[in-house]
Symmetry: C4
Subunit: 331 residues, 4 copies
């Protein structure tokens, strides 16, 4: 089976992953309208291709928060990579480094931050966190990440409670016994119920800033009002995200929300996006609409499921090639 | 089979109810365009989710006509509950009371008003009525309801004649011999043909007001013009409804009609809605567009069909949980 | 099998008619876009239903060109009724008279005008004609129709050449040997190729007026420009029609074109419509948008195919009942 | 099997061509959105048909760059005709001449220009070219074409790199050993990788003009900006084209882009179009929106695959008949 485009990896993962793992990765909230809309929205956006421009030399490198990556696409935070591949997040970290791009490691990793960091020394890594009811635990995580060389904190803000993913409930989803949320003391079931603090507000950004010198990126913004608040609270970046459609159903597609966020931000901080990226031209569309960089979630997991770090590199390489070709053909 | 969302109850009811009963509950008029549009219209409405708001404490209680209910969702009037569960409307009444919400008992109940009332003493119950050709019969029903402690009258106005529901005609739908329209002297076939008075006009509201001290709610309004007329005739509430798409086909979805009704009413009376509510976020959308409370029809019957009052409580609890979660995730 | 709505008759005809006849009646030009659009366009038109109006007495009779019919729906001209039922147009004429409505007999009838007229003495009948290359033949037909008591001439104007109906070509459609175009000397194949005059223009209306005292109705108008021309040339009525989507594909649905025609005509002549009427509420929509009366084509043939004049009466009765109910429910 | 419309030829080709050849001809870039949109866009364009115009005599001839053709449709440049029919481009040339229309021979022909020219002496032939990295090779081709009597040069501008056609990658598409790109020294694989020059810009138009007296037509324009540039650079014609959706996916349908190009050009040069033409009324729509002539790509190959030059003539004749009929029916 030739792996030509991301759908091939998706089909592979659907076929070979245990159903409970596939369902968990694929899940969207409620009717999955937002999950699907993330993808459909790209199809409504049309290029205006230009011709006869010299596209023999194209530089697709970019910088995010001052660090160069090989092309404007990184790996979004997703949990439980060992469900996709035995080495879990260590493989993810290696692939990201090999492709010279950014990996946002999730709090819900099945490897420790120390293992992730050691797997890709000097790779560009950011750390995704939630604010816990137990603030000391959050503080400890932040300081651990900073000490290990993670270069930014990505605060996920759209999970005051976990979204309702029907298949996970039907499957009674839980981690297999040999996997652990190694960065937390609790096991997953406990975390899901009680770890996260639903009373977090914008003021907690100040608290977070007091803990760390790392730049802070807010993930989960979908409106101009929240974009403005983020800038005013002194964050360094915004990820336009709806959590892959796994939290509130019937919100906007991220590529649609991007436009108003970019307009509100007016260049004061960098704006990124995740959700629905499935081919290189999707990346180009997001950049044309003002994103500095995009991040992939599920496609990274499909790559892992296919062949671990090698499979993920395949996914990244395909996206990179498609992105470059789209740029050339769009002039 | 896990009962995770309302579709699960729908699938159960479709599988286990006698076809003639399922068809009767599911029926829409003509091509069922309006029945289906009631649901589809919600999918076109998108949230603008806000983040970093303190959603640790949320009060989802509300008051309708001054009485508190546990969350803004009640049970719309539908007929023939014994088709779904042996105890019929008595079970419905018990479930509504257990969940501390409002039950609008139908004239076409297969239990007497006295039985319904006794099944849930001190539960919040309203009584739905039609104006009959025989006004004395209507008067008697109104006064019986008032005496029994029903707290409002819901006048259904969109049935001057019964809508054309093709499957019911094909099935030759009629009640099984052991069920009766216990609140009426006639049997169903007679009622359908001749009971209701198609000459009823706004003036009859005055007549109804002269019979009772109960507040009067008009059910079946879909336009701003009729909303204005309702307010001017001194009613206490409006239910935006198209009878679940069972009367005139090709009218608007109720969630679409809600907007113009709310705007016309300008807060002078309470505005409710029924039709197409299938998940908690639908409730939130209706409230965001100005409804004070919504009511469910078919989903209540699916709950009954599943496990009587217990099944209906499951349905209500799922909607309540989903509603609360949507509110938190939408900020 | 209960015959509840027009789809039931359609399914019956599709099942029991010879394929070549079904295909001929069902055919649309090219990709059948316009044929299908005629129906789909109705679904996009929504009622604004009003309540609490006295609908106990409704008069659905109307007058077309001064003659009363039982409800605003007649039978459009279609050819070859013997393909649907042995008695052919004689049955059609009888059904129309029994239901007290108007029948437009086609030039391509398989019964003579004399037979059609005799089958329904004193029934309201109009005669549809084309202008032939051989003007004397046209003149003779007009005068025959007038002498027999047909009360109007309906000039079809959208067939300078026959539309491309793919299935008819594949089937090598032709009339069975025992059927004849009895009102013409030539047989069908000859007619199709050479009978009609593609050079006809508006001036020929004057010629037609010089031949007869009958009112003249133009069938095939889809634009305001042609509507204005028709009025200026002194016709008495317009049928908005695209020949059931059998001529030019990719023109507008008739219900969509109706609006601009009605606006252009400003009441100076009566405006009718055919195409896509499948339930009583379609009739109501057309009337609400300004049509004085509508005509059915294929559904009449399905009725004939079911049970001859009795089947056609069933179709008309269903439409009449649905129309009356829609009116009541729409207030 | 009757060959009634172009879909019949498509079905035939799909059935009888080797899969690898069918896939190559059918391929679109990435998700094939643009390929499919080329066709879908026509369905959104509606005629406003006029009646009672004299359509007995219609002249459908036109002139392109001063030369008369029998109707406004020619054959677009496509490669590898021997994949469809043993005689390859010689058959194409013969069919075009027999139908008195224009054939644009591709650089990627499997016959030599000399063979193509000799197959249809005095036929109207244009030559499609790319600008190669090796400019001398391009120059030689241009001068060979001019010497052979080709009457215009069509410069394809939307292939700085080849689009990503997934099926071709899966199939490992390459020419069978007995076929050659006879006009080039290299074989196909080499060409694909390295022949074309991605650094070509508008200035190279001047270079091309210096080589030849032939008129130059730019193929691949989709925006008003590039249309203006083309006119300013002194070209004689524009083909609005997206390479049949084989290059950049998610660009506009050509019939949609045509409108802005025609408006920008304001009659200064002739504007043509290819992409999505599947029936005669598509041609009429393109002409109504300002195209002087249209060209067919895949349908020509289906015709070849059916019966060589005879099959292609069938395709052209069907389109011609349909075009004429559409004109008559649209008035």
């Amino acid at each position: 089976m030739a792996m030509v485009c991301l759908s091939d990896f998706e089909a592979y993962a659907k076929k070979y992953l245990p159903k409970i793992a596939w369902d968990y990765f694929a899940a969207g909230a409620d009717d999955c309208n937002t999950r699907d809309e993330n993808i459909l929205a790209y199809k409504r956006i049309r290029f205006r291709p230009r011709i006869l421009r010299d596209v023999s030399m194209m530089d697709i490198r970019t910088k995010i928060l001052g660090t160069e990556i090989s092309f404007p696409l990184g790996i979004a935070p997703t949990g439980f990579h060992q469900l996709a591949w035995p080495d879990g997040e260590k493989s993810t970290a290696r692939a990201a480094k090999a492709m010279n791009t950014c990996y946002i490691a999730s709090t819900y990793s099945t490897c420790t931050l120390e293992e992730i960091s050691a797997a890709a020394p000097r790779g560009l890594q950011w750390f995704q966190l939630y604010i816990h009811r137990n603030r000391a635990a959050s503080q400890q995580l932040v300081q651990r990440a900073e000490a290990l060389g993670f270069q930014a904190l990505v605060l996920t803000t759209d999970v005051p409670y976990t979204g309702k993913r029907r298949d996970d409930i039907r499957n009674g989803f839980r981690l297999p016994p040999h996997m652990k949320l190694k960065n937390l003391e609790q096991d997953f079931e406990v975390c899901k119920m009680s770890l996260l603090d639903p009373s977090v507000t914008w003021n907690d950004i100040y608290w977070l800033q007091s803990l760390t010198h790392l730049p802070i990126i807010i993930k989960g913004i979908l409106t101009k009002e929240d974009a403005e608040l983020a800038v005013r609270h002194g964050v360094q970046g915004i990820i336009v995200s709806n959590h892959g459609g796994r939290q509130l159903d019937d919100g906007p597609a991220t590529i649609d929300a991007l436009v108003e966020v970019v307009e509100a931000v007016r260049g004061r901080v960098e704006v990124y996006l995740d959700g629905g990226i499935r081919k290189g031209s999707d990346v180009l569309k997001a950049l044309a609409l003002g994103a500095k960089c995009v991040f992939i979630g599920r496609p990274a997991l499909w790559g892992l499921a296919y062949k671990g770090e090698e499979g993920l590199q395949d996914v990244l390489r395909i996206l990179q090639d498609e992105f470059r070709l789209s740029m050339a053909l769009a002039g």
